[in-house]
């Protein structure tokens, strides 16, 4: 499903958090969003999810303006931070809750969780631990798994590699790409990890002070070189 950002802007006081004239994300793309702290990545995602009000402009998912209805929520999965988690539930209960309210049967849910068993590494399901008592990495996993459980046409993950151990980072990269290939879903991820972003993204947007300053084709050495040059990783 296409996503279109038109004249989208958001400021907090004097600070411009997002200012995008026109930007289109085509159906089936994996868009990696990179930028320094405060560049506006999370704000952009929140605007796309209708969690904050834009000063101007709109976000279209397909032809649906996200601020004008809720039907887009049926096909959008997202995880931004732990305010998405109901932390007094166990992971099993949370997954069951998400599945039930999204019309997913318990058989579908179990089959889905089975696919993620390597990623969850036996630390989430079958436990009597509440989400609030999990480590930051495991909380992150719960959020990602729940977002993907909907089998969304649009998946938005804010810094999904944060807090994860190297093998989980590798696993989630593989799962994201596999999901994209199988479902054709449009996927947006933000990350400070340039290598991971380049590895999985078909397109990379570089954000600075709320503006998209580079639109780079992903998946090749040129993308990495451009990003390294911008972030001055090499003197």
């Amino acid at each position: 499903m296409n996503i279109t950002l038109s004249n989208l802007s958001k400021t907090f006081g004097e600070k411009v958090a997002v200012d995008i004239n026109q930007f289109e994300i085509s159906s089936g793309q994996i868009l990696g969003l990179v930028g320094n702290n405060g560049a506006g990545k999370s704000t952009l995602f929140r605007l796309m999810l209708d969690l904050i009000k834009p000063d101007s402009g709109r976000v279209l998912m397909g032809t649906t303006d996200v601020s004008q209805g809720e039907e887009w929520k049926d096909w959008t999965g997202a995880y931004i931070d732990d305010s998405f988690l109901i932390d007094y539930l166990t992971p099993d209960e949370y997954f069951a809750f998400i599945a039930k309210v999204s019309g997913i049967t318990s058989e579908q849910r179990n089959a889905f969780l089975e696919k993620f068993s390597h990623f969850m590494a036996g630390e989430l399901t079958g436990q009597k631990k509440l989400i609030r008592n999990l480590s930051a990495g495991n909380k992150q996993k719960v959020g990602i798994v729940a977002a993907m459980m909907l089998q969304p046409k649009i998946l938005i993950l804010d810094e999904p590699f944060n807090f994860l151990d190297p093998s989980s980072q590798s696993a989630i990269k593989r799962l994201i790409v596999q999901y994209n290939q199988e479902s054709g879903a449009t996927i947006l991820i933000s990350s400070h990890n340039l290598q991971h972003t380049v590895d999985i993204s078909t397109r990379i947007a570089l954000l600075e002070n709320g503006h998209i300053i580079r639109d780079i084709e992903g998946g090749d050495s040129h993308a990495m070189a451009t990003l390294e040059e911008y972030f001055q990783l090499h003197e």
Partner: protein, 499 residues
């Protein structure tokens, strides 16, 4: 060079003041600031009035005048103790930010216990005691006698403050500890009320008279009380901060009850399960819920075991209270707990509507508790069945719809597990709470006056049934208005979340 201890003491005190003043839920809430000052001035004026009135009223009794007041010492101590539950924090809560800094934990604890001892709050009763003492103690025992008498009262308030801190901290581990002061205070009241003569009158008056005469024995006793309660607190609070650091919280639950009974209700059942788990798994929510439930049963008990409230108005009043107390306590802050995970809820279609429905059903079903507990009283004729039905339906069909409107206006997240003292509430909540208390009594009084005690409750039942029958309509309306204000609400929930 390490800071001198006094400078450090001052800095910590200053930080604590800033912590309260800059609390996001307080800083943004001008109405609560105003209300706080208003209530302070109101109660101060009330106590001054009481002090003057009692002093003048008892003036003709000579030296016995202040003995009368001293005889009531246990009552003042009991009130002082329980009021602190609303207003006072525990040191373990306030030292938390410093626990990893190179400041000795025992020093921190001493700072906060000493600050607590010297808190101006312990002098609040002086608004009554000073005018009373000037009128009735000073003429007989001079300024020295007055000073000693006031000092005695202050020492007892300080010891009481420490006793509160001790119990309050234990209550944070388990609410059942509240039974301990309730039992002790119950015994005091029994000793005062049940025998022919008040058994505590003489010891209390002797103690306070001793203070006024600067007799060393009462002072020794007072200091002993303060020292013992200080020491007990010091040990307990220190243990609590260590537990906090070591995260002794039970990480793995023994049983993760799933309330699968609700599965049959589909999506709504999931939200009902969430309501159950919200109440049982979060300390702050659980305490609020069980205290509300306890008060509900307390009011029932009052109707069963005393005949003090047997006039019609009081019966009405208590019966109404029984029905609305839990709703008032738990629903006035509707959506504030959910503010902690509002982004997750808002990313699912109509989840807020489902949640509101679940809340309504849950809170309506729980009203079977007062209905059934009052039922025997209706059988023996102490309470009319119409009154019981009237308040049941009125609460479900009129009071709840009014309180649920707050879902459109509440925008401060309340921590699920951390107790917030004196920083909750807004103007809208206060208005709704007062209306919930006054409105039904007003309707009932007028109606009973006009058409008698049986048909008088018909309007309450009727209005209640209408509200119940149309609940999906008004819940949908609340949901639509919530969605219209969603940005404002989400912004408020987010800003007040990390406190």
């Amino acid at each position: 060079m390490p800071m001198k201890k006094y400078a450090l003491y001052k800095l910590l005190k200053q930080n604590n003041n800033l912590r309260n003043l800059r609390h996001p839920m307080f800083e943004r809430n001008k109405f609560m600031k105003f209300l706080g000052w208003f209530m302070f001035l109101y109660y101060a004026a009330l106590l001054i009035f009481l002090g003057v009135a009692l002093g003048l009223g008892m003036g003709e009794h000579g030296i016995a005048a202040f003995h009368y007041l001293d005889g009531g010492l246990p009552i003042i101590i009991i009130i002082d103790f329980w009021v602190r539950f609303i207003l006072q924090e525990t040191p373990a809560q306030t030292v938390r930010p410093y626990r990893l800094l190179p400041i000795s934990r025992s020093f921190l604890m001493n700072v906060y216990l000493v600050s607590s001892g010297f808190s101006l709050g312990n002098l609040f009763w002086w608004f009554m005691l000073v005018p009373f003492g000037i009128i009735s103690v000073m003429p007989l025992l001079g300024w020295g006698g007055l000073a000693g008498w006031l000092l005695g009262w202050w020492m007892l308030c300080v010891a009481n403050g420490f006793a509160y801190l001790f119990i309050r901290s234990l209550c944070m581990k388990h609410l059942a500890w509240a039974a301990l002061p309730a039992l002790v205070h119950g015994i005091w009241v029994a000793l005062m009320v049940l025998p022919k003569h008040n058994l505590l009158d003489m010891p209390c008056t002797e103690l306070m008279y001793g203070f006024a005469l600067w007799n060393p024995l009462p002072y020794l006793l007072g200091m002993l009380l303060v020292a013992a309660s200080y020491w007990a607190n010091y040990k307990l609070q220190l243990q609590i901060t260590y537990e906090d650091v070591a995260q002794k919280e039970e990480v793995e639950m023994k049983t993760a009850r799933d309330f699968s009974f609700f599965n049959r209700f589909g999506t709504l059942g999931e939200y009902l399960k969430m309501e159950m788990k919200l109440r049982l798994r979060n300390k702050q929510v659980r305490t609020q819920f069980f205290v509300g439930l306890g008060l509900m049963l307390f009011f029932t008990g009052m109707m069963y075991f005393t005949d003090v409230y047997d006039n019609t108005f009081m019966k009405s009043f208590i019966c109404l209270y029984e029905y609305i107390i839990l709703g008032l306590m738990t629903l006035v802050g509707i959506m504030c707990f959910e503010g902690n995970y509002i982004d997750g809820l808002m990313s699912r279609r109509e989840s807020i509507y489902d949640l509101l429905c679940a809340k309504y059903y849950f809170n309506s079903i729980i009203l079977l508790v007062p209905f059934l507990t009052v039922l025997p009283l209706t059988i023996i004729g102490k309470i009319s069945i119409w009154m019981n039905l009237g308040y049941l339906f009125f609460t479900i069909g009129v009071i709840y719809p009014c309180i649920f409107q707050l879902a459109v206006y509440n925008k401060e997240s309340i921590p699920l597990n951390q107790k917030l003292i004196g920083k909750q509430g807004n103007m809208m909540q206060q208005i709704v709470a007062i209306a919930a208390l006054v409105l039904p009594l007003g309707i009932e009084r007028i109606s009973v006056l006009l058409v008698g005690p049986v048909w008088g409750y018909a309007p309450l039942v009727l209005l209640g049934i209408v509200g119940l029958y149309t609940h999906k309509l008004w819940l949908r309306n609340i949901y639509n208005r919530f969605m219209k204000r969603r940005y404002l609400l989400m912004d408020g929930f987010r800003n007040s979340r990390k406190s």
